[in-house]
Symmetry: C2
Subunit: 404 residues, 2 copies
């Protein structure tokens, strides 16, 4: 029997009424003769509310205890959805991440899934149950509850689809697919029918909040087809799958913007081997994800290293950088968390000259100063001041995508 | 090193500020050189809020999923309290019921603790940690989350104290001890310094909400000394311990009232052996706790059986009684959930004649009709109409206890 994994995010399960709505969607897949596994997020703003509670209790938020706290959000949703499904006359059972066999590493609050042992899920599917799994969470080898970081429910869903060899992983959200830019910002943005893993990966990691980047990595690795759809209508969504399926090679898939960015500069760094390793290993040891890294030669014998992290990680990053600065003999550091990253993504970009120039020109016409530039084969990213982000996306979309 | 178990109920942890207040109390025990284990309830009205969510999702509330849902309430509190303790500079770790080794039977929503394996708690105590355990919950042999029923956190605390051979189990609540009647109802009610397990057991099971009856049973079985205290002041509380410690034998310990009562009558039951077994086994099979049972001979060859259950269980009870009624050939049944149970408790009662007569007289003077009477060596209970409950307690306290 074909297995389908469906994932419903926080806005799709924000109230008991919406949970009943989700239950009807799940049942309709079940009634088409499929085995259905559902991964859900916490209801609405539950996670933010829990974080507020933690902050109200004290300054520090020990990560093991944050995971203990946050994991309750999804646990509430799975129980309620299982009840709603039973109310519709279907067999259903809820499972925490641990019960679903989701084993993660030790990194509390940003754990990575090591493997999924789907035996219990399969047993319940064979009994005729719809299985409702808590997204965003797992357990480590010590049976401690871990969470996967913001948006981790997408990764849960895709990893479940891979482990269960599901036909498709349907990601239900509050938009009906992947757009060429954030449709709330750019009314002209168009929905894509199809996008490759690599393009989606760039868009996801660049701040298009439709899918968590890691979920796309996992999908690519295991060849899981993702269908991004709306939980509020029946419009066809956007398929994320291997690019060989695509007939045409689009020049640009979209413009993404990300304001969860902070930049840190380390100045007058001695020019000798091992310096970058020293810095970025120290950050990696604390599980801080560094995004853009730019090292530029400035004057004889000394370099500047500039990099970006998420704003959430900035307060952890600063003391590490200050320590490393002394250890390696750099002469200064600066940081700024009022910046944004604007990116264009497209598999066709590599074979089309002038794309970068076009982007820079769009920004220049709006008098937007570029702080940092970083490029890959399928994307170009610029860091700019945060308060210019919306104008930048509008200008780039209008010039480069809107008129395609 | 001496171990103390402290339990804080929902009103004591209802907000982040109150949780910080609890943390200071816990730390003060730790700073007196004790090893401290804390059991906590869900914050304030969290459990009621979760039940409302379940009802909003649909009619039926499958019990396994209710446990999955309700267990989140305490999990939030343990994480927040562990954070608050760490913020005060102390080592602390939270544990769910399962992590704390609390093994229960299979009865979802009203499970009983089978045993506690305290190895992990002891390991964390030896590392210098304050251990914060989720009350009200455990796991069964299939690693499913179970809950212990309303007030179950008291039982968690006492069972932990027994398993850890703690010096004392301190139950912190919103009143500063056990009173001769509900002080919110009877301003003249007096606080008891000391009460025996048996008296407390009668008071607890009779609706004095200070302690859950099962927790007192466990305390009696394992000889755990309970100290019932206020979490909002430093007044000495009420000690619950073996009655041999008591210098004087009080005639009456208190008056209790309970409105979570429904009565069911089965009329014209054939007078042959095995009838009562048939009825009460059918109820026990569904884990329905029957409280008072009265069988009275009415007329030749036929009996009436009247009994009480909690109001929560009434809707489950009715269809079972209707089925049994047909099976045994009884001629009618009736039920009423607008009743209350008023009880007087005292170890000295058995040697003092006239106590029952005094109680009935107090009720008669107020024109309160008695529906059912049940007595034991240390208590007398009467079922009356609910709307007369407060007057009944006032009258009995004034006549029998207030003037002692």
């Amino acid at each position: 029997m074909q297995i389908v994994v469906q994932k419903f995010g926080g806005t799709s399960v924000a109230s008991p009424e919406l949970i009943r709505n989700v239950a009807r969607r799940v049942v309709s897949a079940k009634e088409q003769g499929k085995q259905v596994v559902v991964a859900v997020s916490a209801m609405g703003h539950t996670t933010d509310h829990l974080i507020d509670l933690a902050r109200a209790v004290g300054d520090c938020c020990p990560e093991r205890e944050m995971d203990m706290l946050l994991a309750t959000g999804e646990q509430v949703t799975i129980a309620l959805l299982a009840m709603a499904l039973q109310n519709l006359g279907h067999r259903a059972i809820s499972m925490t991440g641990a019960q679903a066999g989701i084993l993660t590493d030790e990194a509390h609050t940003k754990a990575r899934i090591l493997k999924i042992d789907p035996v219990r899920i399969q047993k319940e599917l064979e009994k005729g149950n719809i299985v409702v799994v808590a997204g965003f969470q797992g357990m480590n080898v010590d049976h401690e509850t871990t969470t996967l970081g913001r948006g981790g429910s997408d990764t849960t869903a895709v990893a479940l689809a891979a482990a269960l060899k599901a036909e498709v992983c349907e990601i239900y959200t509050d938009v009906d697919g992947v757009y060429t830019a954030d449709p709330r910002l750019i009314p002209d943005a168009r929905k894509l029918d199809l996008i490759s893993y690599d393009e989606m990966l760039e868009l996801a990691s660049l701040g298009a909040l439709v899918l968590q980047a890691r979920s796309v990595e996992v999908a690519k690795q295991y060849g899981v087809t993702i269908n991004v759809r709306s939980s509020f209508n029946d419009n066809p969504g956007t398929l994320v799958k291997e690019s060989s399926d695509m007939e045409e090679c689009r020049l640009l898939s979209g413009v993404a913007h990300d304001i969860n960015v902070a930049k840190i500069g380390l100045f007058d760094v001695p020019d000798r081997p091992g310096i970058a390793t020293h810095l970025f290993k120290a950050l990696a040891d604390e599980k801080i994800n560094v995004d853009m890294i730019i090292q530029s030669w400035m004057r004889s014998g000394r370099n500047d290293i500039v990099f970006t992290v998420t704003r959430d990680d900035l307060s952890k990053t600063i003391p590490i950088v200050e320590r490393v600065m002394k250890e390696i003999g750099a002469l200064g550091m600066e940081y700024n968390d009022h910046v944004a990253k604007i990116s264009i993504v497209g598999a066709g970009m590599v074979t089309n000259p002038g794309v970068a120039a076009n982007m820079f020109e769009a920004l220049a016409k709006e008098n937007i100063n570029i702080n940092m530039i970083s490029t890959s084969e399928i994307k170009i990213s610029c860091v700019i001041e945060e308060d210019q982000a919306v104008r930048a996306v509008e200008a780039i979309h209008a010039k480069m995508i809107g008129k395609l």
